[in-house]
């Protein structure tokens, strides 16, 4: 990379193919979640869901360098991470629809979406539940002499759980290859970060565990990619964990039962003006990575993948009722 290259980090670091795939995945996340929401409204799926619309840059930019050997742990708002790690939206919809063809054979649903083959160890219904598990995955990598790193996604709410502090401390004392990625979307359900968290920046807490802490604009693809890139490099070099805080925002409520009484319409609209997909696409066009026609084709392909995914899910068979206890224990 030349000293005079002033282009954004992502543009000068990744290939056009990688960047286009990243844009496609951001669109896929957006359209997947809109499709899930519409399916819910139409009564095609039950339960609840936690949508990450507005946070797409954080998921995709964090995962852009990962291979299937690298691991992630995810949050209850985990659709985006799953797609960012390379999952197939058809099998994700099938899981959402509770079908046997879903990633978890209909036993997990939205909140436990996972794809072990691509290194996604799973979304987690317990805030902070994935933090120690990620440290354990990093411990495996180190002990078994593997090169893989683990990215641990968690929300601002989890930074006040005991599991956060215990996990960061252990990762630091054992210098494990893990990157803690806080998606600070400003609210733990309805409680704002200002009301829940004593430090101004969640990344300030990294100092207590003797690891680097960085806060970036989580809606700026390149800023996230750069921060996570350095954290991954540090992890792979054997220098231990880092904490990256992505400041972002969820456009939707906490879950489907949220009436949004704790934030204003103005606040939501202001954040919608910082749409990470619009920004990333404009950046790619500005730097000649793609033109408007290609961008439209990528966006259209995401729509088509999502439509086909929903059709696949609708047409898939449900799990056999008699198999309710299957997968509780290993089969002999």
């Amino acid at each position: 990379m030349s000293m005079t290259d002033n282009r954004p980090f992502a543009i000068r670091t990744y290939s056009p193919a990688q960047l286009k795939q990243a844009l496609k995945r951001m669109y896929l996340i957006r359209r997947f979640e809109e499709g899930a929401e519409q399916s819910y409204m139409r009564g095609l799926i039950h339960g609840t869901m936690h949508l990450s619309i507005g946070q797409e840059a954080s998921a995709v930019a964090s995962c852009i360098e990962l291979t299937d050997a690298d691991k992630i742990t995810s949050t209850h708002r985990g659709h985006g991470h799953c797609i960012a790690k390379g999952a197939d939206v058809a099998r994700m919809f099938a899981e959402f629809f509770g079908k046997e063809t879903g990633y978890c054979h209909g036993r997990g649903g939205s909140m436990h979406i996972a794809d072990v083959q691509t290194g996604n160890l799973g979304a987690n219904g317990i805030v902070g539940g994935g933090l120690p598990i990620a440290v354990g995955a990093a411990l495996s990598a180190k002990r078994l002499g593997r090169e893989d790193v683990t990215l641990c996604f968690f929300g601002d709410g989890a930074n006040n759980e005991g599991a956060f502090h215990e996990a960061l401390n252990m990762a630091a004392i054992w210098k494990l290859p893990v990157v803690f990625i806080c998606e600070n979307n400003r609210y733990g359900m309805s409680t704002s970060v200002e009301r829940s968290t004593a430090v101004r920046r969640i990344s300030d807490r990294a100092a207590a565990y003797s690891m680097p802490g960085t806060t970036v604009d989580g809606n700026d693809f390149s800023a996230v990619a750069e921060a996570v890139h350095h954290a991954i490099a540090r992890a792979r070099a054997g220098d231990g964990p880092s904490l990256v805080e992505n400041l972002t925002y969820r456009w939707r409520g906490h879950s489907k039962s949220d009436r949004n009484r704790y934030r204003t319409k103005e606040e939501i609209e202001e954040w919608m003006g910082r749409d990470p997909i619009v920004r990333f696409q404009a950046e790619l066009v500005a730097h000649g990575i793609l033109d408007e026609a290609e961008a439209s084709a990528i966006a259209d392909a995401a729509v088509s993948d999502v439509e086909q995914g929903i059709e696949f899910a609708r047409g898939s068979a449900a799990p056999a009722i008699g198999e309710v206890t299957r997968y509780v224990y290993a089969e002999a």
Partner: protein
């Protein structure tokens, strides 16, 4: 499959030596086995079970964790999910309360939530039980709590031979296994086969055959029940003593067959009597055809409805002892329908 003994020779070992031997064998043959826990390294563990293991295998495989039960248990779960076989020692089983989230929400459910796409071959070892004067927060018997959770396996070996064989079985198991070790058993000696063998999880043992009544017990209560049964012989009562060995899965068949034979059932366990192992076993018998063979109501003898007290006489009174087992067995044996 029953007990497989590859080398016939046996030696006398203590319960804790037997556990240590199982860990040494596993670590020598499988480089993915690691030990984690508070003070298990140079200190050798609160009950000295891991004594000298750090010298033998190094601090990377015998890892002292910070005092972080939730995090430590979770690290073990994550490591198990990704290629290691961790044995995580809780210093006292009471401290597993701090790690309930990782044991109950994560370890137990991950395989199911992921539709069978992942395994969590983690072993949690927990020193449990009363009798050491350690009072309410270091003396509980919480095995029934975990027995309630699908996805977990819960075992309570009562002899050095089983302690080794069941721990080796737990390590070979792809699912999470919780081993409740009674603190008063650590120094107990017994014959232990040399070499590698496994004692199957989910299979009870008949420790003493009898015809007049069945006593189902677990852990240290097995030894007290046998002592009571030996005294009953002098009174002309023949008691069969079943060592449960495994809380989940539980060996229905051995219990039911014994009840069909004797017609009377006493269940002895150290955990608080209500909502415990006794309730599970009595309901299981009541729901089965063995119910028709009962000549008297089922009797449960469990711990008092109280935390474990400090005063030694109160502590003794809080859990079944040989004399209280004897009294309960006499009542049951003499009870007319």
């Amino acid at each position: 499959m029953d007990v497989t003994v590859q080398e016939a020779s046996t030696r006398t070992l203590s319960y804790s030596e037997a556990i240590r031997e199982a860990m040494v064998l596993a670590m020598e043959t499988d480089p993915t086995v690691i030990l984690m826990g508070e003070d298990i390294g140079v200190y050798g563990g609160a009950f000295q079970v891991t004594l000298d293991l750090v010298d033998r295998f190094g601090p990377e495989r015998v890892m002292d964790t910070p005092i972080s039960e939730l995090g430590g248990a979770g690290v073990a779960v994550g490591a198990a999910l990704t290629g290691l076989k961790p044995i995580f020692e809780f210093q006292f089983s009471d401290f597993a309360t701090l790690a309930m989230e990782q044991i109950v929400n994560q370890a137990a459910k991950l395989r199911y939530m992921l539709g069978g796409e992942a395994s969590v071959p983690v072993v949690f070892r927990m020193p449990a039980g009363s009798g050491t004067g350690a009072a309410a927060q270091h003396s509980q018997s919480l095995e029934a709590w975990f027995g309630h959770v699908p996805g977990l396996k819960v075992i309570q070996p009562s002899t050095p031979e089983d302690a080794k064989g069941m721990l080796l079985a737990a390590l070979a198991d792809p699912d999470p296994v919780l081993v409740f070790e009674h603190k008063l058993l650590y120094k107990m000696k017994g014959e232990v086969p040399a070499g590698h063998y496994t004692t199957p999880i989910g299979k009870a043992a008949i420790r003493r055959a009898g015809s007049d009544l069945t006593i189902v017990a677990a852990s240290i209560m097995v030894h007290r029940a046998i002592e009571a049964a030996e005294q009953l012989v002098t009174e002309g009562v023949s008691a069969e003593v079943i060592d449960l060995r495994s809380i989940r899965p539980i060996d229905h068949e051995t219990i039911l067959a014994s009840v069909r034979k004797t017609g009377r059932l006493l269940i002895v366990y150290e955990g608080v009597k209500s909502y415990g192992i006794g309730a599970e076993i009595s309901a299981m018998v009541a729901e089965s055809d063995a119910f028709d063979f009962l000549d008297a109501p089922i009797l449960r003898l469990g711990g008092a409805e109280a935390p474990i007290p400090y005063n030694p006489d109160l502590e003794r009174a809080a859990v079944p002892q040989v004399d209280s087992i004897l009294a309960a067995a006499r009542r049951l044996a003499n009870r007319e329908v």
